[in-house]
Symmetry: C2
Subunit: 433 residues, 2 copies
């Protein structure tokens, strides 16, 4: 393993723990979320030395500690002793310049920049390798969903044949809104813009360029090929009308912006376009700003990854996870692994809504007796259900309960089980969510 810059500038602080210095470039939505997670969840493990943003005075916030240096200058970051640089500016220029200079200065880089990685990823990865540092970009695809990680690690033993995904939350929001309300594309777009889910210029999203950059990055990982975004087609969703959802529905389908890539021999078929998908498939069931990716492997079959594909906090999770990977793998494996396991108090006493199913020899007053018994224990009944068509000698009925804690319910049920009208033991199931 190469010697790394990371090792050179370690400072030791607190209980003998090594603190890694990081610099943050770009203090927009994602940058702020990253700073917040680092300062709250990982305060003892990482120290933010610099925050760099154009016109940084306007960006300053009171929850960033005083020792953090604010700057407008990329030079300050390159010349600093930060071991890891977060590139969270987006766009190609000056992000490419920053990443190149940081890698050459033997700093590892974590980026969420899909356009940069789609266009220049292979060269930048080579540059990082030449300088014995890491360039990680898990946040560049599907925000907080660890699908790139899944393809690169957990599924690496498979031979991936196909990727189908919803990689742009804005398009998914617009299309699922058109599906749900019958709105036109223009109205659904306007609504998404009004709510802040679509840009004033929505081209990157609705014309498929954003998804194409992400598909490029996924396809590279899945098929071990240096494919470029310009090799992939991208069709707009602007052409979809309300009537198309009606016809799609007649076909058991709905319409989504689908990014797909499929390997056949040495041919890669890949592109982004609005597509009919089965209403009951994971892709068809995905609504709102969600992202979802289905990989198909020769051995493992279909694997689905879904979650929040964008937004400051989910994207920041991916950024910080990449930082943790660097911390674990660059000479810190031992330190990271020796974290003490937390001592937790473990119990099964969930607080849940409950489904109680009784089967009784019917007679008047049973519900009253049960209601009384539950009330004594402070448990509230939500509803009582009794389906017709069952014999009075073994009559099933159901009581649902408002959320209560398991021990309280157990005490009530212990009493209730003693009553003489049961044909079999009552069934008690929690109701999720």
């Amino acid at each position: 393993m190469s010697t790394t810059n990371l090792a050179a500038s370690v400072v030791v602080k607190g209980e003998g723990r090594e603190v890694i210095k990081v610099a943050l470039v770009g203090f927009g939505t994602v940058g702020r979320s990253v700073a917040r997670i680092l300062l709250t969840r990982f305060a003892g493990q990482f120290s933010v030395t610099q925050i760099c943003n154009r016109n940084h005075e306007a960006k300053k916030v009171d929850w960033v500690p005083g020792e953090v240096e604010w700057t407008d200058s990329l030079n300050d970051v390159i010349e600093s002793d930060a071991e890891v640089v977060f590139e969270l500016m987006g766009g190609i220029d000056p992000a490419e310049q920053l990443v190149t200079r940081a890698l050459r200065a033997r700093k590892s880089v974590v980026t969420a920049n899909k356009q940069l990685i789609a266009r220049c990823g292979p060269e930048l990865v080579r540059l990082a390798r030449e300088h014995g540092v890491n360039l990680l970009y898990g946040a560049s695809v599907a925000g907080g969903i660890p699908v790139l990680d899944g393809i690169q690690h957990g599924l690496s033993g498979d031979r991936i044949r196909k990727i189908e995904g919803i990689l742009n939350g804005t398009c998914n929001l617009i299309l699922s809104q058109m599906q749900a309300t019958g709105a036109s594309f223009e109205d659904a777009l306007k609504e998404a813009q009004a709510k802040g889910f679509a840009e004033a210029d929505p081209t990157e999203d609705v014309d498929g360029l954003d998804a194409r950059a992400k598909l490029t990055i996924l396809a590279r990982a899945a098929f071990e090929s240096d494919v470029l975004p310009t090799q992939l087609f991208a069709n707009s969703i602007r052409t979809i009308e309300g009537v198309d959802f009606d016809y799609a529905n007649d076909l058991g389908c709905t319409i989504r912006q689908i990014s797909r890539a499929q390997l056949e021999g040495d041919h890669l078929y890949a592109g982004v376009q609005p597509t009919l998908v089965s209403k009951t498939s994971p892709l068809g069931l995905s609504v709102g700003g969600q992202n979802l990716v289905v990989t198909t492997g020769e051995f493992g079959g279909n694997t689905v990854f879904a979650g929040a594909g964008a937004g400051g906090d989910p994207t920041a999770v991916a950024v910080v996870s990449d930082l943790l990977w660097i911390a674990r793998h660059q000479r810190r494996a031992e330190a990271a692994a020796s974290n003490e396991a937390k001592k937790l108090k473990v119990s099964g006493d969930f607080k849940s809504a409950h489904y109680l199913r009784f089967k009784v020899q019917d007679r008047p007053g049973i519900i009253a007796t049960l209601a009384q018994s539950l009330a004594t224990h402070g448990i509230n009944i939500d509803a009582v259900f009794q389906r017709p068509g069952y014999p009075k000698s073994a009559l099933p009925f159901v009581i649902t309960l408002e959320p209560c804690s398991a021990p309280v319910l157990t005490a009530a049920m212990d009493e209730i089980k003693q009553l003489d009208f049961h044909v079999c033991e009552p069934l008690d199931l929690p109701i999720l969510g």
Copy 2:
């Protein structure tokens, strides 16, 4: 980084590539799949030196190369020069003994053994660390779905608050069969047994012990705690009757065996039990032998992982992925990373079924003209749809096509677009699946 056994016994073969020697213990369904993947997909990278199984003569297959040594003896494996041992026997005894001895002999171990890891994981991981080798067990939870990997790496930057999952495919098959057909538990179990999806003694599955072991392993990773399976409750699904699915349905729900763990302060609430879940939630939509896990993070929100939770090939993918991790991280990072990117021919010419939506100034003969034009290009029409209620001056209708390749369709559509009855350009979308 510690010196490892892996480095000691490297052999160089072929184009200067390092071949890692592995020994396989347990040649059942998973063992056979692992051998097949290693021998086909990774022949130049790994060499299987030994296959160990009780009564190995009965297990021999002709597709394993002659140089592989077959043995009944764990001693042979421990004393061999294999650098990585696969423990694929299952059960505690003698698996625990094998893993312990292999780690002490400074061999890394990859296992799919959920019971062993649930019961002894923390000690075995410590033992591996003491000896500078790795113990990986991604295959012990949810087969080929990289959820453990996702929690340990891609989501490590988050603070996971809750895990809810379907971790036992047999229970999911039985419950989704009861839901679909109204079968009793006994009949659904018998059918699953007849098809080989349930064991003759189904206790481990239906009484929740299998899922509990997996939940233990996930909870340990998510909450960084050494929780033990015996601290978690497990309730059987045997008590569920057909009538419960009827009542659940009235509540907008269905019933699944749900494994859940939830952190509140220093309290971990965790257990496995049949549970009512919304019919339209990912958990409720999961049918058949599928596994599905939803993690909830403080920052990233909900992330869903789903796929084949069991079976030889999917489990083998997880086992081989762990082996690749070891190969990449134990002194082979450079070698693994310098793999040449494949040169692929990239195109967008998917072969798909298609949805063509026209909007026309209606007049007789339009369908005939279109059908003729498509036929000329050898494209088969699947169906024609025309919804009522639209004006004749801008009448939308749809033609669906049997699968054809994109360039053929483009040629046909270029011709069709020239026709004079269009009110707007026809829309052409692929239909997935």
